[in-house]
Symmetry: C2
Subunit: 255 residues, 2 copies
DNA sequence: CTGTTCTCTCTTGTATGCAAGACAGCCCGA
DNA sequence: TCGGGCTGTCTTGCATACAAGAGAGAACAG
């Protein structure tokens, strides 16, 4: 009766594009996603764009303000804490439940850490944000449980949005070291220790956030003036969706 | 910018109705959900029904077979194991991360266990299935983390579908005792023990499934003949959505 | 009786059209 | 100079129309 045995949730192209845009920190929280623009970009009608948006909304990645538009979520401080809390519970539970680390898994982790290290010297913040999130997805993949992986992928997307909002300065080295410690414990086969370390790591990252800061109340103004976002250099170009001002200047009284 | 601080995912009425129908074991896996019928029932157009379906699909609760219809998912054996694996990781991680059990929480658990006990003597299997699932949602609520609660609610829904498919006989007493043990450990403040017990409990339940059995390959035929499902008495009535045969008899050459 | 083809009706897939609301800018009065 | 209403243009919300595919049943050939 089921079409595919594993039933991997097939996403629409639009959905994938937006999620991967967030996971790679190319799309900022609060970005407006216009149905018409997306429909044009992907050459489909608004109907299918809306379907993608509905799905993204149920994954808490996108949010609609009635008759104003769709926006990438800007998690509140409270929500940020919840997301970190959830990740602590899930990732630690996942690690503690592991029994063996396969050779392939060991290799994947090593490769990932090497990449983190390499990219740290390059210092590309956007790329680093993406990598730091990816580590946790890699870990989830080790458990070979697509259900968990999918859950953690969405939480990672939200985490990346959170760090774009609240992370004043980026402790890449600290994160990297945290990841190394977790990996070490895993290589030792000490998954209980790895679980504890993952909690510590997530605590550290959460502590590094400035949750008192309002999520950039000036972002709208900033966008309207076409200024670059606060702590980020303006993207080099080629972004799928630019963070446009909400309302572009009208054709001054065209007819 | 955000409309609500906690941003609780607001579901459409249709979505809620279907999920709650599953959580209360009134809707069986494989049930066809016709867009037209739902549109009629809720007095809206197909558009809104489809939106609800899209959201449910992204939550792995519903599944579309192209141009045949929407169906409540029938998780495969493999998927069933993944769901249980995910629940083990998440629920144990959640419990192990708890620090205190509030008085309100203690009361909620006690009330729930009492209700389980009461309903066991009554022996209403449908109601019991619902209660047994609810226990885990109650636990999630104790952590006061809506993100986790939502994740576990969806996993619980899928679990209920799984048990409707694979649970040959219903070990309500066994489940109830497992819940009692977990609650006891929590009341003692021994959350580590509670976490271990939750893993054991989920293992037990999973072991109680007959995953070798194909998910009722005759269900379609059975429905077409309007026979009651295998081990369940036919619902007393008042169900929101009846498990209709896929194709009702046509008006014999109406025109 | 059995298998094949055809037709007809149902289903979802997708685009489109219209309505209602939100906001920017204008105009005007104080 | 400032504030309040008006208007126009954008947005999403929602219903509807039509296209395309899937399957049941009828008709028919062997």
């Amino acid at each position: 009766m089921q079409d595919s045995p594993t039933q991997t949730t097939l996403q629409s192209t639009i959905e994938e594009a937006i999620v991967s845009g967030i996971l790679s920190a190319r799309i900022r929280p609060g970005t407006r996603l216009s149905e018409n623009q997306l429909a044009g970009l992907f050459d489909v009608s608004r109907t299918r764009v809306r379907e993608a948006m509905m799905r993204l909304e149920s994954r808490c990645i996108v949010h609609v303000s009635p008759r104003r538009g769709w926006f990438v979520v800007e998690p509140s401080a409270e929500e940020a804490m919840m997301v970190y809390g959830a990740r602590r519970a899930i990732e630690s539970g996942l690690l503690r439940g592991m029994r063996v680390l396969s050779d392939a898994g060991r290799a994947a982790i090593r490769d990932h850490l090497a990449e983190e290290k390499a990219e740290m010297t390059a210092g590309n913040r956007q790329r680093l944000t993406c990598l730091m999130g990816d580590f946790h997805i890699r870990i989830a993949e080790l458990a070979e449980n697509p259900v968990l992986t999918e859950i953690l992928r969405d939480l990672t997307a939200r985490t990346i949005l959170i760090s774009m909002l609240y992370q004043s300065d980026f402790h890449a080295l600290q994160s990297h070291l945290g990841h190394c410690r977790i990996a070490e414990a895993m290589e030792d086969g000490n998954f209980e220790r790895a679980a504890e370390l993952s909690i510590e790591h997530l605590d550290e990252v959460e502590m590094g956030l400035d949750l008192t800061r309002r999520p950039d109340p000036l972002s709208e103004l900033r966008n309207s003036l076409s200024l670059p976002p606060k702590a980020f250099p303006s993207p080099s170009g080629g972004t799928l969706i630019q963070t446009d001002p909400i309302y572009k200047p009208f054709k001054t009284k065209g007819k």
